[in-house]
Subunit: 253 residues, 6 copies
């Protein structure tokens, strides 16, 4: 990888200081984050030339997101400035048996409301050899999905490797819509990252003998899912991620 | 006044802790406020039975606004719960020669998106003898303007005194639209609060010999404006407010 | 339950911020709490009409306690205002092998110094069908015990169900005094909540074969204790609570 | 001065962080202070051997007061440990036109409840050549006044210079009681510090032609008051302090 | 200006939170700053391509300085990494009649200990058309002065305009040494910024009739000083800065 | 033990607030600490007369260290004031699988740069019966090692028991230098505290059959090491400390 471009939404994250609950919070710690922006920050941290592409308002909340990315060495020169608002998510950290909670307030953000004409992908991909996005980006709005498609086509045309993390979000779109939109995008994807649930939710691909809800894990099943993804979409590579939900025992045996 | 009902939007106010600027802020102090909600809090502080009416999401950011009003003894039992988001405004406190800044992120809030059918004004005005709103509320959206009109009509029908602070906000609507909408509402208003600029911006009412931008103040002019308002809208009373912009000299002689 | 009234002391809780010890603390987080107030807050949180009755000074530390209860939807309209001080407790949170510490500074509080004539129980119980107090309240002072008795008698006379959590506090009174006072109050109690130790400390009621200090738990013994309480005081119901002291293993296996 | 001993009460000062009001405070900054303790801290800061004498509970809130004095080099080895509580005062800092507020919660403190036998003044004054107290200390309780008297007598007997700042506090005692108690103590005082109001409130000494409430200041009057104090109590010296109440103009011209 | 390079030391600034004094501070706000770095941040804020050159340790305190510059859009790619420590200055903000205090702990910093061979000025000035430094940089150490000279020579050779703010610091070097070193550097300077005191301290240039210590300001004198600087060092331009020391009256009239 | 004197360096400890990393830190919690100072604080906490000896700058960062020791009842009257800087260490607290990190910035501190003549050990040991130092102190600089030797000789001459914790620090000196310097000091040591690694690193003393890096613990080996230390240096006592590195499992089973 010489230069990686990631594309998506970066949101203002507001989390009550300490372990206060939302209804008790008098102060919120403010940072910025989002799936594709986090990938760019991580890559920059490993010394890789990484740019993040999005649309952010010209006002200072938008500027705060830009500055935060710059702080961690991400190239922000390709970010389009305009639109009304920065998406927000509120995070209440869990404690003991109380789980964490997230409240999204991301509708109508600048990137969700962006137009295809806001982005000149030929220019964006100059010098890049890798493009990464996730299934969250096309789920933001119809226009965001169109922009993704334009990006993918431009990347393919320029020989830029395209990777996509399926990342299905039930609050943003239906399984049917996700399947329809993502199938079109997958034509241009070289590397697909998924977990077992996303592959099923979005594409109906399921390993024989696995049962996500029961927690039964079938290692051979992951290979089946990866193979099915590679075959259906003619991928170069597929990666299946596995995150265990571990019961937390802080505070007591 | 036995019982006052105020109606409008309550927003989450996020202000950087200390005197940090937006682009430096790592932490925001969180309170809730809005013109009509503040009136309810003030009246409750003077021991008057005060209820605030709005629409707020069922989630915990909406609940935070409810709890905050309750803390200061405002009756929140008439608040409609539903919708997606709580309006937000970001406030950067000024310091020395640097002025304060406000960034609004209030579009698409639950109250701006509320429907006329969300509010049963006959029930809301039970036991009330005063209804207060400001020109900000009908400016939020067309539906918010309709809800205001329904409220005003119900108040008039029940013999509830109606007061309105013109409070023209250039970012929310044009002078033309404001004039058109507010003129309809004024038919039901008994007491109008305004300053000289708002009376001109919204209704074109201007004192002879005054010049707002030059800072020349003509005390007789205020009486003219008040008289004109009373005459045009058959008001019981009109109040003209005057806030001087005083040059701040903290830090030096 | 249509409406619940709880009665007791609400204290200002001062806990060093973070995990600082008392002797290091430069800042205390301030909240308000107390056994019966917490019950009212919890019930209100479940949507039940809950009022808390106490006496609090008219000054702003007293008002802070009122506002805090209101924030969580507790009816504070029956709180008597007057007296000199709000009881305080200092809490040092434990960490790792260091246990939590509590220093009480509650003597001479407004509620401990209140007079029987401060409370008009007939009025307080209007519309209520449940009254709850704990063994902490009569332990505060002789006059507090008399107020409890007056409350219990008024509740019985109006057909209000009375529940009492024994909650014996060795720092507040002797076992002898507790037994004497609580026995008189139990004549009017319908539902008694206790744990095995409190039943023994206050009334000498002990299950055969149990040994609190050794940690040996005898489940049948709880039934014996509950039966004995019901029989002796002609209760409608008795509940035995059980809280295990679990050894904390944060920080290491 | 080789070694100074001051005697009085040191209180826990709890002030809301920032400029929050009491009813908004979620956090209190905690320091320790009191008239005589502050004198000891100031003298120690100038390099003078200074000891502070009081009674403080053995618990960690009491220890916090001791540590705080030690931090600023005050000798705390003569402090008697015992009693129940540390006096508290709550301070709300004023801002703009809002004045500061103080709520005292100092009754029943360890020093107010101390007995004469708690203090061995012969031992306390070993090596000392100056003893300082203020009119606040004898106002705390009858026993505190007796301890003051015992201290004054012991100081006189050992040739230790005694200074007293009248510091009349209307919330603690009446003018009559203050006059009676302070007159006895003044027999042993060598240096008296006062302002014009205190001299009048406690001893009825008034300059001809001055009027405290009108703000008219009569410089010759101060000399009259000082002369009258010296004459009546056979003092070595009297000092009259003058603190102007200056109107604050922060925020505006 | 197409691209500006500034060169000097960036220090970790540690200032007690709020208005606490050094001896009370339990917490320090941490930012990074220095004369030449601040110039680069300001220029970047105006949209000018600005790079800052220095030497910073590879460890994370050094990285924090780099990240902070990046956040504000300064090009940090030319910073040399190595050496042991980041210079520190402690700042106690003044309040009311208490002045601010600064304690420097900058000796032995990476840049003060840097070698001439650490910097390849031909490479550094690629694409640059302006070079700025201040009199603080050569004052840091003999080697820092040599590096400055090498930078100035390289700039002159490449036709890069050189500006220098005299900025005499009495704690870092004597007037004699400053005069000797700065005179050599001035051979390569095109634009000199100074105030009246610095011109006198470093070069003995003084306006007729002015008296810095008395506060008497002679406007014609500034022109004399500027002319003298231009003449002696064959400058293109000279700027005289004037900062009035205004007596602060916050808190009282 | 009647009175213990400990000697070494006390540093300013700067740790990011909360669990922020160095590169994220905007605020550092400030305390003071060091091996020998911590011993003095602990002894004082147990009520033992404990003095700490070091050299600290006269400025207020130095004074902060003095005040902090005084707060915890350590005698600071023997501390020499002078020199340029207080040693600093930056501490990033670990969290979950991320380990803690320490960055030292202690070179050129006042104590590292102190001269033998700064300390009058005969005077320092007046009234003392125990002297404690660690292997960190002589590692600070050649002059610090000489001061240690002078202290040890004076202690022996006055019959003061000398204890030393080997505490080998690889960043401060080589094994060869440590062995050479510590061997000279051990002539005057009565009680040596060590762990198995330090005994080997400094003196090459190793238990048969133990392997520190493999984690195999051989209890008999500790006795061997202790016996070897006692024999080689004619000690009165040797103590071997053992700190297990326990794998942390906070957050998950």
């Amino acid at each position: 990888m010489k230069r990686v471009v990631t594309f998506g939404e970066i949101m203002l994250r507001l989390a009550p200081e300490g372990y206060y609950r939302f209804v008790q919070a008098k102060s919120y710690g403010a940072t910025y984050g989002g799936g594709e922006a986090n990938v760019a920050v991580s890559l920059a941290g490993f010394g890789i030339d990484a740019a993040f592409v999005t649309k952010l308002p010209k006002h200072e909340i938008g500027q705060g997101a830009v500055n935060n990315l710059r702080e961690f060495a991400v190239d922000t020169s390709l970010i389009v400035r305009g639109g009304d608002r920065v998406g927000i998510y509120f995070l209440e950290k869990g404690a003991s048996q109380r789980p964490s909670k997230v409240i999204y307030d991301r509708a109508h953000s600048a990137i969700a409301a962006a137009a295809e004409s806001d982005f000149d992908w030929d220019k964006i991909f100059q010098g890049a050899d890798w493009f990464h996005f996730t299934g969250i980006t096309p789920a933001l709005s119809d226009s965001a999905a169109e922009i993704c498609l334009a990006a993918c086509k431009a990347a393919r045309a320029k020989g830029v490797t395209v990777s996509c993390d399926l990342n299905y979000r039930v609050n943003l779109w239906s399984r049917e819509k996700a399947g329809e939109v993502m199938s079109k995008l997958m034509e241009f994807v070289d590397v697909c990252i998924s977990n077992e649930e996303d592959a099923f939710d979005v594409f109906g691909i399921k390993a024989s003998g696995s049962d996500v809800t029961s927690g039964i894990i079938n290692n051979d099943g992951y290979k089946e899912v990866a193979s099915a993804l590679i075959k259906r979409f003619e991928l170069k590579q597929a990666a299946i991620t596995l995150r265990e939900s571990i019961f937390c025992v802080i505070n007591c045996i």
